[in-house]
């Protein structure tokens, strides 16, 4: 471990600092609030020569990710970033990047989806592409953004799957905090050069990359039996599930070199003896740590279990930490419209059938930047406890700080 520097920086600047330390070779992006300062910083470094990379300006997010896909296919380490409608606009290529098994790293400065138009924070954007086959990591603060972005390259390149590093727009992207920046030597020791891509690009032995694959396996021209669509998808799923091991391993490797780790799949606060557990992803988890201190002062044994890795979903780790508790209250900053919060629904499924499973309550909060204070979380916890005492097992999602009726 050698000394880096400590600087006061925004979440976007922390992401950019990590991308520079990762020695990316190609950056392509299209501006959208609140992500833009990440790539503005990177383009300034490319222009000044501080970052020896290609910065490709494009006319849309769809093209930004397409540039990353093509550059990653030929072996480059690449980066892009986006938010909300920008992510939605690139959705086709979000699926392509994952299905083609490209180790792309993309930062998402989480922002509400339009309509109505809104540039402020919630997590609806990245949650809406949770099924596309990327690893999704959610960060609590700017230090975690820097460290996670560096770790994301290692995870992506070990598994050949793309990784989204998600952090709350404005709350983190535009808020300054002291951030310790690892030395170049430490970053290089942690993150080796990108291994050879799965794609073979060789003029002397040319390939069709990403050709049509039909339903059933079929023999290629040499007689070799090749995957059908389902075989390729099953291997992709295996790689994503392997991330349940790789994400914590990489976090431990990072801690060994840099001296700082984040807990891998989940993190916790005052959880050991907690009867009521608040679950959240991103900076909302930090709010929850303040809320459980208040709850404890009021005599409620409360703790926090934070989701760092949302895809793959750490079902076994969550079961291990939550079975036997009395209640779990999940705060989602997104909604599967017509059902409930995505983390809440996934957690219910993970706990289903466990004999000693806690009651799971869902709450949605902070949509479109609506303020969420620790007091709001405490109030929600008290409502959940009251419902628990009343024996309520099912209730509608609790909308926190909603003012439809005053």
């Amino acid at each position: 471990m050698s000394t880096g520097t400590t600087e006061v920086m925004t979440g976007n600047e922390a992401a950019a600092a990590a991308v520079k330390l990762a020695r990316v070779q190609v950056v392509a992006a299209y501006p959208i609030t609140p992500q833009s300062p990440v790539v503005e910083q990177l383009s300034a470094w490319v222009e000044s020569g501080e970052l020896p990379a290609e910065f490709v300006t494009v006319e849309s997010e769809h093209s930004a990710l397409t540039v990353c896909i093509t550059a990653s296919t030929v072996g480059a380490r690449v980066f892009t970033a986006t938010s909300a409608n920008g992510l939605a606009y690139m959705t086709e290529q979000v699926w392509w990047a994952a299905g083609a098994r490209l180790p792309i790293v993309m930062c998402i400065a989480n922002r509400a989806m339009a309509a109505p138009w809104n540039v402020l924070n919630d997590q609806q954007d990245s949650m809406s592409v949770r099924d596309a086959g990327w690893v999704q990591l959610y960060c609590r603060d700017n230090q975690e953004i820097l460290d996670t972005t560096l770790q994301a390259y290692r995870i992506a390149e070990r598994l050949n799957v793309p990784v989204m590093v998600c952090y709350d727009g404005f709350l983190l992207s535009h808020t300054v905090m002291p951030v310790s920046v690892p030395s170049v030597g430490d970053a290089d020791a942690f993150l080796p050069k990108r291994p050879e891509p799965l794609q073979i690009v060789d003029v002397n032995d040319p390939r069709n990359i990403g050709p049509v694959v039909i339903a059933d396996p079929r023999a290629d021209a040499s007689g070799q039996s090749c995957h059908g669509y389902m075989e390729i998808r099953a291997l992709h799923q295996q790689a994503l599930l392997a991330a349940l091991e790789v994400v914590p391993e990489v976090d431990a490797e990072y801690a060994a070199v840099v001296g700082r780790g984040w807990g891998g799949l989940t993190w916790e606060y005052l959880l050991e003896d907690a009867e009521l557990v608040l679950v959240a992803a991103g900076s909302l988890g930090t709010q929850a740590t303040v809320a459980v201190e208040t709850l404890r002062a009021q005599g409620v044994q409360a703790g926090v279990l934070g989701i760092r890795c949302y895809r793959p979903f750490p079902a076994a780790a969550l079961r291990e930490r939550l079975v036997g508790r009395k209640g779990v209250l999940v705060f989602d900053k997104a909604l599967s419209y017509g059902y409930e919060g995505p983390i809440c629904a996934d957690l219910r499924a993970a706990l289903s059938g466990e004999p000693d499973a806690p009651t799971v309550w869902g709450a949605v909060c902070g949509l479109g930047g609506r303020d969420v204070s620790p007091d709001h979380l405490v109030d929600a916890a008290r409502r959940a406890l009251a419902d628990g005492h009343a024996g309520t097992r099912h209730r509608p999602t609790d909308w926190i700080n909603l003012r439809l009726d005053g």
């Binding site: 083609a100 050949n160 390939r207 990359i209 990403g210 049509v212 023999a219 995957h227 075989e231 390729i232």
Partner: protein
Amino acid sequence: MGTRECGSPIAMSRPSVGEAGLTGDWRNSRPVMDAAKCLAAKSGKVTCQLCWAYCPDACITQGAGPAIDLTYCKGCGICAEECPAGAIAMVPEAEHGTCEIDAAAEVAR
């Protein structure tokens, strides 16, 4: 036997004849070349070859005139559209009886 031993977890193949499947069995119109009109055939030289250049399935072989491999021709009609001499006519397969593909190739697959 399973497909795991093909060695690649992604969709990738070597460019080779038939790699995209037996595309000839999709065809409902067949390109029929008239040697009396084809610029290459008339001059006896490997000239023009626009049909070869435009065929999206690479099933035309260069020559004077070019030859079309009906095992893989999917009948899109692009060659007929691009031919500057109007030497290629798209004739409905129904007029030929059955769609002629290489039966041996079909059995092999």
